[in-house]
Amino acid sequence: MQHSNARMVQGPPPATHVHISITSSEYAVRDALSRLLDALQPLMLDVEETGTIELVLAEAMNNIVEHAYPPGDRPGPITLTCTPEAGGLRFLIKDTGRPMPNGVTPIGLPVDLSVDFNELPEGGFGWFLIQDLARDVVYHRVDDANQLTFRLCLAG
């Protein structure tokens, strides 16, 4: 009896496996983020955790909109799968756009701020944020599709 009570307090209720499909566009990414956060509501995440999830997923999907389906190419599908696991959430994002240059994700170094005012960076923050906040970031090109997986740790 005590044991089962302790377990209830310890772990958040398991969220259902979330699956979201959109056609690439910046507004569709917004919609996917809002649907994802709605679906994760049963986990009772705090503002810090939802902020991290929304930020990493926004960066990953905006990269796809910008680089996998660049302006001039036909927009295509982006699918997002979120699976709860011990200690956090596992994400899989797939698209059928252009492959990652060189077949790997950017390392995501911090931007260099020791530069002249006019040289301050206006971009290049996205992969840094992903690599900084997510764990086990892995990219594969499989059958003309891009597959990005990573984990986000949650307290709980």
């Binding site: 910046e26 507004y27 990414v29 917004r30 503002v47 810090e48 939802t50 902020g51 991290t52 929304e54 930020l55 926004a58 960066e59 905006n62 909109v65 910008e66 911090p110 931007v111 701020l113 005012f117 006019n118 301050l120 960076p121 206006e122 971009g123 923050f125 996205g126 840094f128 944020l129 900084d132 906040l133």
Partner: protein, 112 residues
């Protein structure tokens, strides 16, 4: 993108009345900021207290706005909500801008 501007002495306050500055509106934000800051106030306080979410495109648009104003003027940020604050801290961009917890503290620091 809805920006509202008011003047307080030599300080201009630009308030963002949108919940997000993200990839979908980054260019629109940059254009609106360019127009809003045309008057040339030496100090512009950007009130972000209604903004819940910013991504790297939005961050880039704020940096671009500061660069457009030029080095002789300053763009100061006020009222950062938790996720917005996180983006500025992680990228260390909080070291490039003056960052104040509220509009009032920013005004107090810049009152003539």
């Amino acid at each position: 993108m809805e920006l509202r501007s008011q003047q307080d002495g030599t300080v201009q306050i630009v308030s963002v009345h949108n919940a997000r500055i993200d990839a979908a509106v980054a260019i629109e934000f940059k254009d609106a900021m360019r127009q809003a800051t045309e008057s040339g106030s030496p100090t512009v306080i950007l009130d972000l207290s209604e903004v819940d979410f910013i991504d790297s495109s939005g961050l880039g648009a704020i940096v671009a706005s500061m660069k457009h104003m030029g080095q002789d003027r300053s763009l100061v940020l006020a009222g950062l909500t938790p996720t917005v604050d996180k983006v500025f801290r992680l990228t260390r961009m909080d070291s490039v801008f003056g960052v104040f917890p509220t509009l009032q503290t920013a005004l107090d620091a810049h009152a003539a």
